[in-house]
Point group: C2
Chain length 155, copies 2
Amino acid sequence: MPTEIRRAVPSDAELVRTMLIELANHQDQGEYVTASIEDWQEFLGRHDVIVLIAEVDGTAAGYVSALRRPYLWAGGDLLALDDLYVREQFRDAGVGRTLMLELARHALPDRLTIAWGLRLENEAGYRFYERLGATLVTKTAASWSPATYQTFLTD
Amino acid sequence: MPTEIRRAVPSDAELVRTMLIELANHQDQGEYVTASIEDWQEFLGRHDVIVLIAEVDGTAAGYVSALRRPYLWAGGDLLALDDLYVREQFRDAGVGRTLMLELARHALPDRLTIAWGLRLENEAGYRFYERLGATLVTKTAASWSPATYQTFLTD
């Protein structure tokens, strides 16, 4: 099966959001996807949002999303990978690897470091990223919601 | 000691970079700070780079840096906190907390979630962020350098 990779455009908003919801549901996190199709139309029109769609025989098989953002330690930018997803029926066929390599091809001209987070239980992900030579370090991810920090802002 | 917080401007580039180098050296990571003063002049002129400087009696006591970036799951933006640093002689005086609360004040009008990473060995950081009500989840941080991914791009 030849895999074609193309950069998503605003008219792909519904498709990308559908695959994001599939990914989130697969991780029992569907409730956290609240972005609308309109939000995604706007995201996909931005130069700093890079979404690559993999198609196998014309059918969407998966995607990778990334944000180009300033890299305050190193100067210049880094590419913050947000999600990598391959639909169930297309797994174990190299689609994820093809997506990662195409993302690397986007990052290479400016030699951007690519960085992302990984859930500890994602053991297949560990092996996958190690085979690509990624450096993996255990950390803690922190988040502070508006509902929480608002309670500290009393004046 | 009253702590004054102000948003950094391009003319603060040298000061912020100096404090970033102090922070990195404190973590034995000084070699990773390669951003120049010119890089920092550019960063501090961007609307999506938010750096707040704490001053105590007119002396810079610390800073917090954050990036406003698209939040692909939720729609809108999130605030990615990059670094929080308080100089040694100003520690244990509430400067870090004041910086975090001022950052929250920036995030509140648009109800932005604030998110960041934490090294596992940063035990004082855990307690500090827990007192602020932050949600902490252990994850793995992955990075893929140009020197590494280039070796996979053979065509």
